[in-house]
Amino acid sequence: MAKVKGDIVIDIEKCKGCELCIAACPQDSLELSRKLNTKGYQYMVRIEDNCTGCTNCALVCPEGIIKVYRQTTKKKEPVATISNLTGDITVTVNS
């Protein structure tokens, strides 16, 4: 199975460090920071590069501050199109 690659962006100034996303993450890629934000809370940081973009952290976040990105598979553009399948076959090459 191809590995899905994802990424999250956390608004650290609004994070209150409740650690609910740490428990929800199936990849264990989140951790509390050592530094504090301007409100005095420890905030969440992503420490591992194994995010799959499953949105579990964003679903349980009470502040709604996590944006989740997931890499979409690139669609291969057709090289040629075959039309008029019932009668004569015409092949158009896309340039």
């Binding site: 690659k5 209150k16 409740c18 650690e19 679903l59 349980v60 009470p62 709604g64 944006k67 979409t72």
Partner: protein, 274 residues
Amino acid sequence: MNEKTLVNEEQHFEDMIAEESICTTENLVYEKPETLLDTPMHYCPGCGHGVAHRLIAEVISELGIQEETIGVAPVGCSVFAYNYLNIDMSEAAHGRASAVATAIKRVLPEKYVFSYQGDGDLAAIGTGETIHTCNRGENLLIIFINNGIYGMTGGQMAPTTLPGMKSTTSPFGRDTTTMGSPLKITELIAQLPGVYYCTRTAVNSPANVRRAKKAIQKGFEYQKLKKGLSFVEIVSNCPSNWKMTPLEANKWMEDQMFSFYPLGDLKVPNDKEK
């Protein structure tokens, strides 16, 4: 040989650029809905109110009814709900949110009206209003946040406090002989004929959050059918007044509250009526 290596490096460099630029608009799979404002919430860390607000905002954004929705905020921790939701909202006196919502719905019957109430608001001081609103079968959505305690006033015993649970007014645990048993208001109103849809959900895990969102969405959709009242109870936590960390509070909620307040649908519309 040199040429080939150069080509491979270029390809590798292009791949690296492609890997780094995951954070683009087309790859975005989850974001805070537009109906939820950017205002930082005043709730304690780990409070379930934030998730509930976000779910309501998501449903309103997805149904595209932001300009047709009117909410009624209660008295309690969620008294400032109108600061976070970008919809028309009204504030009600303590416990009277369902009565105010009834008035709004009767004056503006084409609007989507919901009330957002806590357990001290809906199940204690507003029991009469709630039961009669449900009995009349108003076309409303009532969202009931049940965390078993009075959060805003400092953790006093609520009607929904579990037996043996400690609070500032029951410091030795709730004694059911003198203080009575917890009030299962959702089971109580599920029997009423005016209630069209009645369910109990929670917001402690991603799966339960998804279920709660579906329940709120059904509530808004059934409101358009004008069949009766939709009642969605959300079992929530209160880490500050339960004197626990948010993770411990969610664990305690799963162990203790879910056995007393079982999750699931209590009343679902009959398929033949559709």
